[in-house]
């Protein structure tokens, strides 16, 4: 379902091929930097995270398993985890889920060859997010982008643990339904 060229690029990256590395970086840098910036909030920190994410991808390119999702999803998961680590090290600074929420998780500039696939699932997922109650959306963003556990969310939002869990679960089940729906159409 994903273009073969992404995987070919990744294979080239793993083999230490300079041209593949350049193409790989160009292909994903806007997405990687965008995600890092959305989570971290400042360009300097986001650049460090994005740079490290590409390095990790390069190091672990051979550990990538195509059955477990697209190259982009894999790379963005690496980026997310690094951004969360970076944020946790700055402990003192409060996080700003509003930033991501207000951007309405708007994907832009999808590569043309991915557009047919991406726009469909992206549209559905975005629509599903749009229908979530604001506090469910907030819990979802805190968990998905900031790696917060239900316990941490309950403490940060001053809500019972069960409520935090319910918000995350409801939100995720709705996103899943939006995707599963698409597959069985």
């Amino acid at each position: 379902m994903w273009s073969a060229s992404e995987e070919a690029l990744l294979a080239g990256l793993a083999a230490g091929d300079q041209d593949s590395a350049v193409a790989f970086i160009r292909r994903f840098q806007r997405q990687v930097f965008g995600l890092a910036l959305a989570i971290i909030g400042d360009a300097g920190g986001a650049e460090d995270v994005a740079q490290e994410a590409f390095l990790r991808a390069w190091r672990h390119a051979q550990a990538y398993d195509a059955r477990r999702g697209s190259v982009a999803a894999w790379l963005l998961a690496i980026t997310r985890n690094l951004a969360i680590d970076a944020l946790r090290m700055r402990r003192a600074e409060p996080i700003h889920p509003e930033r991501l929420m207000s951007m309405n998780l708007a994907a832009t500039d999808v590569a043309p060859e991915d557009a047919a696939v991406a726009s469909d699932s992206a549209t559905r997922v975005r629509a599903a997010i749009g229908k979530l109650p604001e506090n469910h959306k907030r819990a979802l963003v805190l968990a998905a982008f900031y790696g917060r556990s239900a316990r941490e969310i309950s403490e940060a939002e001053s809500i019972p643990l069960g409520t935090a869990k319910t918000r995350i679960r409801d939100a995720m089940l709705k996103l899943r339904a939006a995707l599963v729906d698409e597959e069985t159409r």
Binding site: A14, A15, G16, A21, V22, I25, Q29, R30, Q31, F33, G34, L35, A38, A43, A46, E47, A50, Q51, F54, L55, W58, R59, H60, A61, Q62, A63, R68, G69, A72, A73, L76, A77, R80, N81, L100, M103, L105, A106, A107, T108, D109, A118, A122, V125, I129, L140, A144, F145, G147, R148, S149, A150, I168, R169, A171, M172, L173, L175, R176, L179
Partner: protein, 223 residues
């Protein structure tokens, strides 16, 4: 669907988001290894979590980002740190005081990752041996054969201080100084490029200022 399934479904959204505590994670993963239905459920949720990340807004990285990334990929120092960390773990996991080995012979996960890394770097071999004094292991010495070739040593021995000399003992019997490691509070590590052939090195020794041999890492058995 039993009680464990119910608990798994309960925790699956947090698992898919990577926002779950260690013990819960272990419990859920244990169940997933034996329950196809729950596994499928978690996979679907994981797809949803992936889709979410893909929706994050794009942004143009600062000028020069691409060349910075390329440069850090090419930097041996960086690769070096990564390799040595992986390798030290592999060495520590292996048994015996003599632990020089070709890692390609050890198909455990660390080694697999290491071999992939080595291949990505274009290196020929990476060997490791424990640094010992008598029966005591005090650290590791690593030899990487590639362009360039490197050596790395990591020592922990209480009471050591100052700069210790790192020597390579060659097959022809000669000894070449290859570097020095500064000990702080009984710990020190040092890495640098090698101008001599890696496969000509029989052992790495570490000596103090008086020249007396303190530690030894044997890379080849005496014939």
């Amino acid at each position: 669907m039993n009680e464990t399934c119910a608990e798994t479904r309960e925790l699956a959204p947090e698992l898919a988001l990577g926002a779950i505590s260690g013990p819960e994670r272990a419990r859920v993963l244990g169940h997933l290894s034996s329950c196809v239905d729950c596994r499928l459920f978690v996979e679907e949720l994981t797809e949803a979590a992936d889709a979410l990340l893909l929706l994050s807004p794009d942004a143009e990285p600062p000028l020069g980002f691409e060349s910075k990334v390329l440069k850090s990929m090419a930097s041996p120092r960086r690769s070096f740190r990564r390799l040595t960390a992986l390798l030290a773990a592999a060495v520590i996991a292996s048994a015996g005081t003599w632990a020089g080995f070709q890692l390609t012979h050890r198909p455990d996960p660390i080694t697999k990752e290491y071999v992939a890394t080595l291949r990505a770097l274009g290196g020929q071999s990476l060997r490791a041996a424990r640094l010992t004094t008598g029966q005591t292991v005090v650290g590791h010495a690593l030899l990487y054969e590639g362009r360039p070739s490197w050596i790395f040593v990591d020592v922990a021995h209480a009471g050591d201080s100052g700069i210790l000399t790192i020597n390579a003992q060659l097959s022809d019997g000669s000894v070449v100084q290859v570097g020095g490691v500064r000990m702080n509070d009984g710990r020190g590590s040092w890495g640098g490029t090698l101008s001599i052939q890696v496969d000509s090195i029989d052992a790495v020794t570490i000596v103090d200022a008086s020249g007396s041999r303190m530690y030894r890492a044997q890379f080849k058995h005496a014939e």
